[in-house]
Structure formats: structure tokens, C-alpha cells
């Protein structure tokens, strides 16, 4: 891709200095998003996905949170060095965000119209009447029936799916260049999930924006992403385009995740899960942070942490033993053929 990057995150690290110790929630993450594409960020809870997105928005609560190092280049400006005043001009205008919990992400004491209008009135030079009309137009675009009526309703009068549509309407009301969606479908029913994803895909083309889709659901990633960053314990462990990731995962963690997805066409007695659980962020293991759960871990993994490296064009992996995974894959293939 020769296009200019929309946002370029370089070696970002965000730590939380708590009483129990320092939590390295995000520890040296680099990625970039191009205009009009969707980057999927996937990982288990607590791997630093949300903190990454909140760091971009500069909404990390400080104290205890702090961006320790790294750069976030957006429109030739480093957001980590921007003032809060400058950030307010960017938030909701150039970069918008939608959140996981549509039930609690809208203010219960104001109408949805008021809340959408608020963003429009902050960033656009329009009067209240025009803002209201724009809010109604946005509600129409996100597929809310009877928008003229809904605009005056309170969040509690809407269903979860409808509220998430309102959140999307609010986020897109000022035509942002980047939409950060932090688990936008996790709290919704499966059928509503599909609708919301479809809506987001449609709006992406219509508005020509880029999306950073944060999720723990590989199914969602497959549905919407162009490229994917897999995060584990505050780092990106694998970073490539979506087809390659699914066809040829190179990191044992990604491989493990793929195995733990139930497939409708396969009849298995037991799903393969990744053994163990995410290490405590206050007490990460030495070396590769995945070594406690990795079937291929060696002494080297327990001592030295691998840096993320490009092993093929457009495919970055942080693992010492990419070859071992390949052997395992080959073995598995043989087994299947025998059957």
C-alpha cells in the first residue's frame, strides 16, 4: 500500500501506576491504519486493546494511567504531545469512538437527540435547528425507524441494538476520518450483532472513514477487517492481512485462538482451549509473555522476549519458533489425511 497512513502508532506504551505496582497495559505497540480500511485488533480481555484505543483518544485516566513513550502520528501531528484543548477538537470530529456497552454509554437524563446534537454543535458551525435536522438525518442513516420521533426519546426507551445505532450516529455525526469501535457488538444478541456489523461496513464506504475494530471475537474480525493485529499481554504478537491470518497463522497464540473457535461443519467432542490463563499484568513472566501457555516454549522463550519481525511481506510475528509451529501444522494435516 503506497497510500499515506491515516494514523501511525509507533512503539506506544501506556502504563498504570497503581499502589500494587506498575501495570504495563500497553508495552510497545506499533501499527498503522490507512484511510478507508478496517484494522481489527483482537485479543483476550486485559490484553491492552481498549487501553490502546483510549490512548489514541488521550482518554486514559491520569493518574494512574500515563503514556510512557511512543508516538501517535495523526495528520502529521503527534497526539501524545497534544494539549487536551487540541484533543477536544479532534475527539468526535476527526476521531470518534463507540463503546462496548450501549446500555450505559448514553447519558440517561438527556434525549438521544440532545446527545447527538451536542457533538454536532461542538464541532460544526451550525445553529440548534440545523443540528437537530442533522441529528435526525444521522438517525435515518443508521437505520432507526421514525427518526423524527426517536430523536426526542430517552436512551431507556430504546433497545440495546437501537442504542448502539444511536452511538454510531453520534460518532459519525461529524464525519470522522477514523472510527474506533471498542467491542461494539459484544453486549448485543447475535442477530443484532450481524446487523450492526453490516451497518458499520455500509457506513464505512458511505463516509469513507477508517475503522479500528477492537474485539475478542475472531468471527467479527473475519467479517469486517482488512488487516489484523493480534494482541497478547500488552504487545502485538502477530500483524498481517486478514486472509493470511486465517489461512496461515504464524504465532502459536493466534494458532491456539483459531483452534478454540467452534466450527459448524466439524463435529468435535471437545473444543481445544489454550491452557492456562492470561498472566497477571502486575507479574508478567520473563521473556516471551506467552511462554507460560505455549506448547513450543523453550528456555530461550523464558529468557529473552522476541521482538516483532517481518517474516514475510506484510506479515509480522513476534516468536522465536515459527518453524516449530509449521511442523505442528504439518503433523496435524497428516493426521487429518489419515482419517
Amino acid at each position: 500500500m503506497s497510500k499515506e497512513k491515516l494514523i501511525d502508532v509507533k512503539n506506544l506504551a501506556t502504563y498504570f501506576h497503581t499502589e500494587e505496582g506498575t501495570v504495563k497495559a500497553v508495552d510497545g505497540v506499533s501499527f498503522e491504519i490507512y484511510p478507508g480500511e478496517t484494522l481489527g485488533v483482537v485479543g483476550e480481555s486485559g490484553c491492552g486493546k481498549s487501553v490502546t484505543s483510549l490512548s489514541i483518544m488521550r482518554l486514559i485516566e491520569s493518574p494512574p494511567g500515563k503514556i510512557e513513550r511512543g508516538e501517535i502520528i495523526f495528520n502529521n501531528k503527534d497526539l501524545t504531545k497534544s494539549t487536551q484543548k487540541d484533543m477536544r477538537k479532534i475527539r468526535g470530529n476527526d476521531i470518534s469512538m463507540i463503546f462496548q456497552e450501549p446500555m450505559t454509554s448514553l447519558n440517561p437524563v438527556y434525549t438521544v437527540g440532545d446527545q447527538i446534537m451536542e457533538a454536532i454543535l461542538i464541532h460544526k458551525d451550525v445553529n440548534k435547528k440545523q443540528a437537530r435536522q442533522e441529528a435526525i438525518d444521522m438517525l435515518t442513516k443508521v437505520g432507526i425507524p421514525l427518526p423524527e420521533q426517536r430523536v426526542d426519546e430517552y436512551p431507556h426507551q430504546l433497545s440495546g441494538g437501537m442504542r448502539q445505532r444511536v452511538m454510531i450516529a453520534m460518532a459519525l455525526s461529524c464525519d470522522p476520518q477514523l472510527l474506533i469501535a471498542d467491542e461494539p457488538t459484544t453486549a448485543l444478541d447475535v442477530t443484532i450483532q450481524a446487523q450492526i456489523l453490516e451497518l458499520m461496513n455500509g457506513l464505512k464506504d458511505q463516509f469513507g472513514m477508517a475503522i479500528m475494530m477492537i474485539t475478542h471475537d475472531l468471527g467479527v474480525i473475519a467479517e469486517v477487517s482488512d488487516r489484523v493485529a493480534v494482541m497478547y499481554a500488552g504487545k502485538i504478537v502477530e500483524y498481517t492481512d486478514v486472509e493470511t491470518l486465517y489461512a496461515n497463522p504464524k504465532h502459536p497464540y493466534t494458532w491456539g485462538l483459531m483452534h478454540s473457535i467452534p466450527h459448524i461443519e466439524k463435529d468435535v467432542d471437545r473444543l481445544q482451549a489454550i491452557p492456562g490463563s492470561v498472566p497477571n499484568p502486575l507479574d508478567f513472566p520473563q521473556g516471551c509473555k506467552y511462554n507460560t501457555r505455549c506448547p513450543f516454549a523453550t528456555d530461550k522463550c523464558r529468557e529473552i522476549e522476541p521482538e516483532i519481525e517481518e517474516i514475510e511481506e506484510g506479515h509480522q510475528v513476534a516468536c522465536w519458533h515459527v518453524d516449530k509451529l509449521e511442523e505442528a501444522k504439518a503433523k496435524e494435516k497428516k493426521k487429518k489425511e489419515k482419517k
Binding site: L59, I90, R91, N93, S96, T104, P108, V109
Partner: protein
């Protein structure tokens, strides 16, 4: 909402009936000869009077329902009985003291609610920094000092030493002015009447008498409202919709004032309701310390002198007040929070 209010008001007489029945039966537990003491003015009377005839005369030995129906019949005709402590009819005694209590309550409410809420919000926004610690210490101290201690200290300093804020409700000369024919008592609230009559000296004198009791009430409730607002505000500031507001680019000041404060006020309204009830119900200790002729002082003396007509009348007044204030609290909930619907 109107039908809700109407229904609540319709229940009012039923509740008041229950309250009167309960209080009346409690008073009946006191023996007839003890209750007779209300009617006896001096110890000398005890020697000359025939107590049995007096008990019969006032019907103190009649069965419960006879005594109760005699009393309630009077009440229905607007006659709450004669208060011996006040030396006037109960209804008149309550009505004449109500403006004093109301004036004190209104003046105390303004600093308490405005100051308590603003300091609470301030403290929550500055969570865990020195300002927050100072306000917290203040609120704990304010809430822990008993009124009878704090009130006496205030009286001692501002009256005893400095002579600024005398006890009572008005100075003698001001009393003379408001009793004179030229001064029209529109509301019986001295500050407002003084303003309406254009007599600033009366206003000044009334305020001078009000400041000390207001200070000693305020400190307590101020601290309480502050604590409730602070904790409610801290909780609200962690809500997802606050993050949403910030992510829209809303200024921090507006995030707090518009998005957080309105939500944080809901529990504060409940406490404020209790506070208004406490203030309008009369402040026994404060009024006694400052010699302020309000309902609290009246209630204390009526109860201690077994003036049961006055006690019953005041019980009905409290019941009435409780229901009206609860109704106001419910209505304010519905105004603040659209999720609450009154049905």
C-alpha cells in the same frame, strides 16, 4: 404526573387519621390524673380543687372512643383544642410559630444546598488531592459535632464575646416596629416583610438574629449534603456515558456540570427531602439554645408539660409535612430522571 399527585393528596387525610389515632392512643396510656396536670396552673390549686370532679369535668376518664371522637369532632371543625403551654388555641399556636421556623429553614437551605452540592462536586472532581482531603475533613468534623455543643460555642463567641448575633427573633425596638400599625405583616417572615415595607433596619435586625442559628444548622447539613454529593459524583464520573461525553470532545467543565452533576443529584434529592423535613419540623435544640420562638421550641415545651392537645396538633402537622415533602421528592425525581415515571 398530575393524577399521581392528586392521588397522593387524596390519601393524605387517611394517613393523618391513622397518625392521630396512633398518637392519641399513646397519649391515652398516660393516666387521667396525670393528664389533668395540664389544666392545673399552680401547686396551690392542687390543695383546693377536687381532682375527681376535674377529671370528670374534662372527661379524662371517658372510654377511649368517646375521648377520641370528641377530639376529632373538634378537629373536623377546625378546633384542635386549647394549648396550655402556648396559652392560645393549638392551631393558632402552630400558625404563629410556623413563619419563624420557615424563615430559619429557608435561610439555612440556601447555603446548605448550594454550598453542599458545589463543594461535593468540587471534592469529587479533585478526588484524592489536598483540596479533597480538606473538604473531607471538614465534612466529617461538621457532621460529628453535636448541635448542642456547636450551637453553644457559636452563641458564646458571637453573642457572649463579640455581641454580634443576639438570641431571640427580633430586638425589642424592632418588635415594636412590626407590631405598630404602620408595618404590614404580609408573610410574617420578618426579612421579607421588612423588605416589602421598605424598612431595612428591621431586615438587618432579623438577619442579625438568624445568622447564629443558621450557622449552627448549616454546618451539620452542609457536611452531610457534601458527603452524599461527593460519593454520588465520584460514582457518576466513572460511568460509561461520561467517557462517551469526553470522546465527543465535550469540555471537561461541561462534562461535570451537564453530564455528571444532573445524574449525581438523584440521591442528593432524597437527603435534601429529609433535611427540609427536619428543618420545617422544628429544630428543638437549635431553637432552644438561641431562644428562637419556633415550632421546635414549642414542641419541646408542649411535650414536657404533657400538653397533649398541642402534641396531637403538632403530630398532625408533622404527618402533613412528611407527606407533602415526600411528594415533592418524588416529583423532583421524575423531573431529574426521565426513567422514573410517576404512576
Amino acid at each position: 404526573m398530575m393524577s399521581y399527585i392528586a392521588r397522593r393528596l387524596l390519601i393524605l387525610p387517611v394517613i393523618l387519621f391513622g397518625v392521630s389515632l396512633l398518637v392519641f392512643s399513646m397519649l391515652m396510656l398516660i393516666g387521667p390524673y396525670k393528664r389533668l396536670s395540664t389544666y392545673i396552673k399552680s401547686p396551690a390549686e392542687l390543695k383546693t380543687a377536687n381532682l375527681d370532679t376535674l377529671v370528670d369535668k374534662y372527661g379524662l376518664n371517658d372510654p377511649f372512643y368517646v375521648q377520641y371522637s370528641r377530639w376529632i369532632k373538634g378537629v373536623l371543625q377546625g378546633d384542635f383544642g386549647w394549648s396550655e403551654t402556648a396559652g392560645q388555641p393549638v392551631s393558632k399556636a402552630i400558625l404563629s410559630r410556623f413563619p419563624a421556623t420557615l424563615e430559619l429553614a429557608l435561610l439555612a437551605l440556601i447555603p446548605v444546598i448550594m454550598g453542599g452540592i458545589n463543594l461535593g462536586v468540587f471534592s469529587a472532581v479533585h478526588h484524592n488531592d489536598p483540596w479533597d482531603h480538606i473538604t473531607r475533613v471538614f465534612s466529617i468534623v461538621g457532621w460529628s459535632i453535636p448541635t448542642f455543643v456547636f450551637g453553644l460555642v457559636v452563641l458564646m463567641i458571637f453573642y457572649g464575646v463579640l455581641g454580634w448575633f443576639p438570641p431571640g427573633r427580633l430586638s425589642v425596638w424592632a418588635e415594636d416596629i412590626i407590631r405598630s400599625g404602620e408595618f404590614i405583616q404580609y408573610t410574617h417572615l420578618n426579612v421579607i416583610d421588612g423588605l416589602l415595607n421598605g424598612n431595612l433596619r428591621v431586615v438587618g435586625d432579623a438577619l442579625r438574629h438568624l445568622i447564629a442559628p443558621v450557622i449552627s444548622i448549616s454546618i451539620l447539613w452542609w457536611a452531610y449534603i457534601l458527603r452524599i454529593t461527593r460519593s454520588s459524583m465520584l460514582e457518576t464520573l466513572r460511568k460509561d456515558y461520561i467517557r462517551t461525553a469526553r470522546s465527543k470532545g465535550v469540555k471537561e467543565k461541561l462534562v461535570i456540570k451537564k453530564h455528571a452533576r444532573k445524574n449525581a443529584l438523584i440521591p442528593v434529592v432524597t437527603v435534601a427531602g429529609f433535611m427540609v423535613l427536619g428543618l420545617l419540623g422544628g429544630l428543638v435544640i437549635t431553637e432552644t439554645i438561641f431562644g428562637y420562638q419556633g415550632l421546635g421550641k414549642f414542641f419541646a415545651s408542649a411535650a414536657s408539660q404533657l400538653d397533649y392537645a398541642a402534641v396531637l396538633g403538632l403530630a398532625l402537622y408533622f404527618g402533613f409535612l412528611l407527606i407533602i415533602i415526600n411528594l415533592c421528592v418524588d416529583v423532583s425525581y421524575a423531573i431529574i430522571d426521565p426513567r422514573i415515571r410517576l404512576e
